[in-house]
Structures are given as C-alpha cells and as structure tokens.
Symmetry: none
Subunit: 245 residues, 4 copies
Amino acid sequence: MADRVRAKTRKDRIMDAALRIFAEKSFQEATISEISKEAGVSEATIYEYFGTKEDLLFAIPEKISNDTYEESEAVLPFIKDVEGRMRAIMLSYIQLYESNPHYSALVLLQLMSNKRFRQTQAHAAIRRSAHSLLDCIREGIANGTFRPDADAYLIRSMLMGTIEHLFIHWHMQGMPRREKTIMEMLDPFLEIVLSGIRAKKEQQGLTLHLNLEDARALGQILQNDPALQSKAESADASRTIKERN
Amino acid sequence: MADRVRAKTRKDRIMDAALRIFAEKSFQEATISEISKEAGVSEATIYEYFGTKEDLLFAIPEKISNDTYEESEAVLPFIKDVEGRMRAIMLSYIQLYESNPHYSALVLLQLMSNKRFRQTQAHAAIRRSAHSLLDCIREGIANGTFRPDADAYLIRSMLMGTIEHLFIHWHMQGMPRREKTIMEMLDPFLEIVLSGIRAKKEQQGLTLHLNLEDARALGQILQNDPALQSKAESADASRTIKERN
Amino acid sequence: MADRVRAKTRKDRIMDAALRIFAEKSFQEATISEISKEAGVSEATIYEYFGTKEDLLFAIPEKISNDTYEESEAVLPFIKDVEGRMRAIMLSYIQLYESNPHYSALVLLQLMSNKRFRQTQAHAAIRRSAHSLLDCIREGIANGTFRPDADAYLIRSMLMGTIEHLFIHWHMQGMPRREKTIMEMLDPFLEIVLSGIRAKKEQQGLTLHLNLEDARALGQILQNDPALQSKAESADASRTIKERN
Amino acid sequence: MADRVRAKTRKDRIMDAALRIFAEKSFQEATISEISKEAGVSEATIYEYFGTKEDLLFAIPEKISNDTYEESEAVLPFIKDVEGRMRAIMLSYIQLYESNPHYSALVLLQLMSNKRFRQTQAHAAIRRSAHSLLDCIREGIANGTFRPDADAYLIRSMLMGTIEHLFIHWHMQGMPRREKTIMEMLDPFLEIVLSGIRAKKEQQGLTLHLNLEDARALGQILQNDPALQSKAESADASRTIKERN
DNA sequence: CATGAATGAGACTTCATTCAT
DNA sequence: GATGAATGAAGTCTCATTCAT
C-alpha cells in the first residue's frame, strides 16, 4: 500500500511537473531532462511511467478530464430547463479552466490545435461535453425556447469560442488579475447570447420590440396596470439574474 | 532590376513554401530542409533571406498583415455608423482568413499562442485591428447605440472569439465544405450579438418579455393602438422589461 | 530440497527462455526484460542466478556441452577403427545440433564468432571435441588408413566446416523441412571425404587416374608384377599417378 | 570535380573506418562516435552519407561486392571445363577474403548470420556467386564429369563451408601467419573433393576403379589398344594440375 | 547570389543493473 | 529468495545553422 502510494505520488509528481513546464514553455521546447529535474526523478523514471514524451503530454488532460467532465455531466440530467443546463455546462467549463490555469493554458494554447490530441480519449471527453451543449441548444430550438431559425452550431461556437478567447487572452497577457473574472462575465455573456436567440412570444411570454414613442405609451399602460407589473417583476428570462442573488 | 525581381521571387517562393508547410505540420515539425525543397532553393539560401527559422515564421504574417489590415482600416473612417464599422472589420477579418486558409491556420493554430509572436510588428497590426473593434464598441456605448452597461471587452471577445473558434474548428476538421461558409454566418451572428447589446429605443424599438397573462393584457392594449401594432410586427428579440429598468 | 528443486526449475526456466530468445533475435537484440517475461520471473531474479547478461549467454552452452560432449566422447575409446570414430564424432555433433535447433543457432550464428566465448569452459569442451577429430585424422594418417600427405587440419576443417555450413544455411532459411536431413547427408558426405584421403587399396577397388603414357606403363606392370597387386588392394580413390610421383 | 573527389574521399574514409571498427568490435559494440573519430569527421557527417548505422554497415559489402563479384564472374564464361570454373570461383572467393581480412571478418563473423543483411543487394551478389558454383556442379553431374548420384547442394556446402570455416578459424585465432595460406590449401582441398565426386572413367583421361583382376586385364588391353591412346592424350581430369605448373 | 557540405548541440530513448523491501 | 521500482550511462539520430567556394 505504501508502495502504491509512493508510486502514485511519483507518477503524479511527474505529471504535475510536466503540466507546469509544458504550459510555460510549450511541449516542444520543454525537455524531458527539465521535467525530470522539476519532478525530482531521473529521466529514465519518466519512461517507466510514460512510453513517450507525447504520451506524457496526453496523459495529463486524460487524467484531468476523467476527473472532471464526467462528474460535471452527472448533474445535467437533473436540470430540466435548457438554459439552465447550458449555463451549467459553461460554468463547469470555466470553473475547470479557472481553477487550473496551467491546464487551460495547455489545452487551449497547445492541445486544441494538435491533430494527434484530437484522437485522444481526453479530447473525446471534451467533445462529449461540447456535444452536450449542442444538444441543449437543439433541444431549446425544438421545444420553442429558442428561435426556430437559430443556428445551433453557430450558437455553440459563440458560447465556446468566446470563453476560449477570454482565457487565451488572459493567458497570453500573463494572467493578470482583472476587475472581473471570466466567471463573473458568464452571466452577462449568457444574457446577451440567450436574449438574442430566445423565441419572442406567447409560450414564455410575449416579446415586443417597439420604438420610443411606443415605449412611452407602454410605460403608461404598465404604470396603470398593477396586475401586469407584478407579473413582469417575476418574469425572468434569464434565471441567471436570480442566481446572482 | 532583374536581380531584384528574381530575389523577390525567390524570397516569396520561400515564404509561400514555409506558409504551406508551417500550416500543415506546425512550425516545430516543419524543417528547413523540407521548406527548401518545397521552395526549390537550397537550405543555405533560406538563410540568405531570413536569419532564423523563427524569423521566417514571423515574416509571413508580417507581410500579409501589412498588405491587408492597413488597407481594410483605410475604409473605416468613411463608415459613420458604428455597427457598420464593426461589420466592416469583422468582414475583412473573415475575408482574410477565408481567402487564405494556410494563413489563418498558421495564425490561429500556432501564432496566437506564441509568446514571441506577440512582440512582433505583425501582431501589432492584428492588435491594432482588434483595437479598432474595441473602439467601435466603446463609441457605440458612448453614443447610445449600445447599452451603457455593455462590457466592451466582453463584446469584442464574443466577436473575435466566435469567428476564431469557427475557423479553428473548420481547420481542425480538415476544412470541409459546409452548407454555410463562415462569411455567410456573419450576419446572423452579428444580429444575435448586436440585438443583445443595443440600447432600447426607437430605432430598434423596445423589446418586452412577458408571460401569457401579461401578453393577453398587452394584447388588449395593442388592440387599441394601431400605431403600436405596425411597429410590433417588425419587432425582434429578447430583452426583459425588468432588465431595462 | 524443495527449495533446491524450485531454484533449479527457476534457473532452468530462465536459461530455456534465454536460449529461445537469444537464438531467435541475437544476444544483442534480446533484452533481459523480454527473457524475464518469457521465463515468468522478474528481471531482478535473473540477476539472482546470473551476474550478467553475458554470463547468462555463456551459461547456456556451458550446461549443454557438459551434458553432451563428455558423454559422446565416452564412447570413442571403444571404437577401434579410425573412420568409425570420426563418424561417431560427426554423428554426435550433428545429433546435438539437429535435436536442439535453438542451441545450434546460438552456437553457430553467434557464439562461434564471439571472442569472449572462446575463453569459456563451454568452448573448451567444443575444442576438445574438435581436437578428438583431429587426433583421429592424425592417427589415420599415422596408421596408414589415410594418405601420408593428407593435411589433417584441412580435413578436419572440411568435416566441421561442411556440417556447420549446412546447419547455418538451414537456420538462415528458417529451418525448412528438406528431403534430406543433415543427418542423412552424413554418410554420402563422409564417403566423399574419406575416399579422397584414404590410402589406395582393395576395398573399393583401385582407382587410377593416368595419362596416356602412364596408363600404358601401368598395363605392363600390372600384367607382370603380382607384388604390386597386394598394394593395389589397399589403394583407394582418385589420385593421379603423376601426383604420386 | 575536386568537390566530388573530396566527397568520395570522405565517404570512403567513413566506410573504411567503419569496416575496421565493425570487424574488430562487432557492429553492436562499435559506436558511431568511434567511427566518426577514426574517420576524422563529425558524427553528423556520417549521417549525411548513411541514413542509419545499419545502412553504413550494409553499404560496405555492397560496395565491395559490386567491385568484386561482378568482375570475377566476367571470366567464367571463358572457362569451358566445369572443374576449372569451380576452381575459378573458389579462387576469387578466397582471394577476396584473403586480400581484405577486415571484410572477410565482417562478412563471415557477423553479416552471414544477420537476417536483414540477407535481404541486401550485397548478399544477393554473394548468393549469385554461390549459385554459379551450384550450377557448375550440376553441369558437371549432367555432363558426366561428376558422378550422377552426387548431391550438388552437399558438394557446394563442402566447398564453401570448408573455406568459410578456414577463414573463421583464422580470424578467431587472431589471423596468425601459417605455414600454408588458405590459398595454398585450395588445390589439395579441391583435389580431395573433386576426386571424391568424379565419375570414374575413360572420358576425362582415365580414371579407373577396379578390383584386382580387372586391373590385370586392363594392363593387357591398354598395352594393345592404340585407339584408346589418343583419347587418353587429350584427357585431363584436373586442369588444376596443369595450372600448377 | 547561391549552395553543397559539414557540424555542434542536444533530445529522446533504451537497458542492464542495483537495491530496499 | 524474489521483485518492483529506479536509474546511470550511453547511443542513435535530427536539425538549425555556418562557411568556403
């Protein structure tokens, strides 16, 4: 048992060191020698655990995605409304990246554009998660949450591309501390996207689009109709607002 | 002069070959030997023109961005409305990437995450272009086109991140022919984003979001106001009344 | 005792595995790891029994030659006639190689040309056996069985070299099943060699090889000289009269 | 031209050094570093000329066999009698090995038992030469020079195996100076083999195989039969005897 | 200007061997 | 006695880069 633990420790030490160095210098510029020093083992020991430098590279997201994606996906079935599910996916995605900057740097800056990584189990997990998102969007379109002419693929690209871009920029600028974390941007961001694709209408209320004069008129009306007001108050497209409290 | 021409030809042949090979295999996996063969020159000749393999890498976007970004930015001052200017920037961006897939592969998959590239003139040009976009958005916020609480940085990230993501995916899947080109996605995409950030008002009217009972009530009102009706017909997307308050 | 037995079993399993693998891949290309797997023991265990990979290599013929050569040499003193003794040596030699192809592959293809092996006890046994053969031949020359001008060393080289060559070829061709086994070639082979070196005489008649004048002379002699007759009886194959002079 | 010559020199220097070191230490124990020092070039230069350490190994016999075998085989068609042709083949074989001991050590002690070498052009040349020998023997059997029951394959194995054995032993003993060179052993050796397989009889001079009474009878016949005489005159079993003068 | 030829520097990887348990 | 785990030591090979012509 002690042995097992020590072995695990060793393997983990190697992967930790590798993650740090790969993320900081890039896979190609990192050397096994450097990693072995950082991990406090000999180079040969690294090859005891990983057949190849590339195997070591891929083992890192393999492990992390196993630990993470699966777990986060377990929650999804319990969230019934589509937007909530989408938000949950985005949230776990951001959480993962934010809590492990080395990992997100590695994945976003290096692995995403590595063809061999795309044939990896780890990437399959990422794809699975991306697919969930697509499914949510499609479901939303199908059940009338979203406009029928919405392009699910485009929307998913907006969701993921924006987050990825935010992380990439953050990394490329040396991960500065910002007024707003990316996590804090999630709801404003989602609000923009979702409000742009929601079906306007009866099912979930009526969506109107009026000019100023109309608005003024409407203002008066609402003013005078208390019944309407209270409803409007609780009406809430973006459950995100609620969650913020 | 003939010499100059020949020299230019040679240099260009080298850069063309390098672009192709860097894009297909990645900078690190490409070799000078391979590029020299592809370009039809000797390896030593490459070093006549470029001091270093990396110099050659950076010379490619340097040249292309000089040819492109500047030119596209020349038009901007003549477009007065902010959204139009934003659209123009996005458009030239997509045009560049779509018309030169090797270049977009190189920039998006490799250079974007290269720290040294970020200190390059070429990257400065890209940044300049990204800054124009940010400026447009800020101007839009300032002049009331966009909501005052809009996060310009987030919006720019949405605009660029989404497009980048679309291109990256397209590349990673081997650039398949799709029903919709990315260019064709631009307007639907912009519509979602812009409608999500526009200030509420006459031009694009007021958007309400209510539940059924509210809608019924509203229906009555509208019923009686013919002026309102026609406006409502052209109405569009997705802002809750609440949020506007 | 049980321990001893188990130990012996283990050691033998290792040597068996090593023999197989050394023979199939060559000493240098075989790895201790592979042998340990084949033998069903750990690598470290191999070092319990053999100090070195090379020690393991040399231990194999050591053991086999101890078991074999000695035994086969035990019979020799009981065979009085030289040719029979030679045949017995060749026979046991072929028998050993044929019954243990891995061993013959190892010895012939690898050990024979290994300088350090030549300082081994195992090689000493082989040399002893080769020496017996040389002794037989010399004895044959001394006792008139073979021609006095025969070159014992050359003859031994013929005997061993031919057999070795046959085995080497057989191995290099993947040990195909042949119409004639090497064992079945032994007698035809010996017949050629022996008939080439026997002192001339009766058993297989007189073989003469003469030019014209010699032939004529011979005619006369034979006709008239009964004394010659007895000589001719022991005569053998294939020597020109000229050469004899 | 000067360039070419220098290049050739360099390549040859590498091959010479490699031959020496491979022969002395064995392929596996030799290192590229050592060869590069011996050749006076850098390690990288070796890889300019040879893709692989093994390529370098195989290039050596490739070159030598191209220079040699072909040339020696050119003579064969001009030698009409079978035994003469066989002798010529053996002779060139011994000559090659004797004049280039490093080469014979390499081929006999290492390459002969190297499976990959057997798929080489160089080995094809060796096989071709071995095949010539087999063809000669078969022709000799077919045309009555040799006994019809002779086993051509066995005989070739005797011829080659013996010579190889002599060379191997010579090498393994450190190439001592001997009273007789292997070349000097050729004719005695051939005489034993050939006399053992020649068809017994008139056609090629007179080889007789008789028992006593027959011999006596023969005397009478020869004496009296002039017709036989002329045949005998042109006869010449072993042209080797003639060549010796 | 162009290049053939050469190489320094180092990376990855392999394996026989050791040792604590 | 047996072994899992660790590693020292080396070797092959690759490539960007230089330089003389």
